[in-house]
């Protein structure tokens, strides 16, 4: 488990049925690119979040493949349709095998 990894998402609490909403997601993660060298000249191995998935009630909204060029603390902004009340799940997959998750519920206004 990479240290001090904290997810953060912004989802409106309510939406009209069928409304398109903006979602923002962030996760504090170093995104070690594999390009850096340590003091002894050894390459610091790559260790990044390589995939981010947002789903609503089990259906995919967006599935992002990340490479080392995504900045530290990967940030994404995208849009989702809210067909009914339910839960947005956010999942981040780490090179080291860890999986980080966050869930936000949306009610229909």
């Amino acid at each position: 488990m990479a240290e001090n990894v904290r997810p953060r998402v912004r989802v409106p609490k309510t939406a009209a049925a069928g409304e398109v909403i903006t979602i923002k997601s962030l996760i504090s993660h170093k995104m070690e690119s594999g390009q850096r060298k340590d003091g002894d000249g050894n390459v610091i191995p790559r260790s990044i979040i390589n995939r981010f998935v947002c789903a609503f009630n089990g259906e995919t909204v967006i599935d992002v493949t990340l490479e080392a060029a995504v900045s530290t603390n990967p940030f994404f902004e995208f849009e989702a349709v809210v067909p009914e009340a339910g839960d947005f799940t956010f999942t981040w997959y780490d090179d080291d095998g860890s999986v980080y998750e966050e869930t936000k519920s949306v009610a229909i206004a």
């Binding site: 504090s28 900045s71 530290t72 940030f75």
Partner: protein, 279 residues
């Protein structure tokens, strides 16, 4: 000396190109709150008429990041700060929150720091945190410019966001302030530059590809794009000194605290912007 200055000035001016000569005119609104990024310079500043927040010198994209508390990635570390303040640490079995139930009670504190305490010592926000930790929580002090300290001072500073910087520079503070002022104007390092040479004499111009600000500290701890994390003010001082190839004073040193007081006073009237976004 004069010839050197003239050559240096010409070199700097020749890079003034595309980024514009002075600070931008944009207004900063964060989450609907208008934040003051300029003010009439305090009387003690003889060579500057208006003080501008560092926000005004950043590119439009960087400025935009600070207008929203989600786009501002510093907030993920503010979240860390809240979590730290809620977690028990030390022999007394307390967390910060055991006594400070609501962070909102810190409103106004950052705007006055650093300040002189009853024992006549100049105290920074970091000092207050570590004093609480060691004397009241029975916990180990945090590294002065480490990530935990940056996170918690960001939480505390956030409570003063929008309030005008207002540090005391008279009475007990005067001798520290004078020392800070001397440090500000002293040339140091292989490049023989003082803070003033860049941040007072040349703010608004380009130094290579950087748009020089006035070196205000109203937004610290700040999320720097360069290292994608919160940076404390003493870390920045240290970095600046290394940039002029000087041996930096120690983090948490009397010199840096005095400099911090003097710099804070140069931002009197600007709003606290913690946590800000800078280059």
């Amino acid at each position: 000396m004069k010839l050197q200055n003239a050559i240096a000035a010409a070199a700097i001016l020749s890079f003034a190109g595309t980024m514009g000569f002075a600070q931008t005119d944009n207004e900063l609104t964060v989450e609907g709150q208008l934040i003051s990024t300029e003010a009439a310079a305090p009387a003690h500043m003889e060579n500057v008429g208006t003080v501008y927040s560092g926000w005004r010198f950043r590119s439009e994209e960087t400025q935009a990041m600070q207008t929203d508390d989600f786009d501002n990635s510093g907030f993920v570390f503010v979240d860390d700060g809240f979590a730290l303040m809620a977690s028990v640490d030390g022999s007394e079995g307390k967390s910060c929150a055991s006594c400070h139930e609501d962070a909102e009670e810190f409103a106004g504190l950052k705007a006055q720091m650093p300040r002189v305490n009853d024992s006549g010592e100049l105290e920074t926000l970091e000092d207050l945190v570590n004093t609480c930790r060691t004397e009241r929580m029975g916990a180990e002090p945090w590294k002065y410019n480490g990530s935990q300290m940056a996170a918690v001072t960001a939480v505390i500073g956030l409570q003063s966001r929008g309030l005008p910087v207002d540090v005391a520079i008279d009475g007990a503070a005067e001798s520290f302030w004078e020392r800070g002022k001397d440090l500000y104007y002293a040339r140091v390092g292989q490049l023989d530059l003082s803070c003033a040479n860049c941040h007072e004499d040349n703010y608004g111009t380009m130094i290579r590809a950087d748009h020089l600000s006035q070196g205000q500290i109203n937004g610290f701890p700040t999320y720097r794009l360069k290292n994608a994390k919160l940076n404390t003010v003493h870390s920045r001082f240290s970095g600046c000194m290394k940039n002029v190839r000087a041996e930096p004073y120690a983090i948490g040193s009397d010199e840096f605290k005095a400099l911090e007081l003097y710099l804070a006073s140069r931002g009197t009237g600007l709003s606290v912007e913690t946590p800000s976004i800078r280059n």
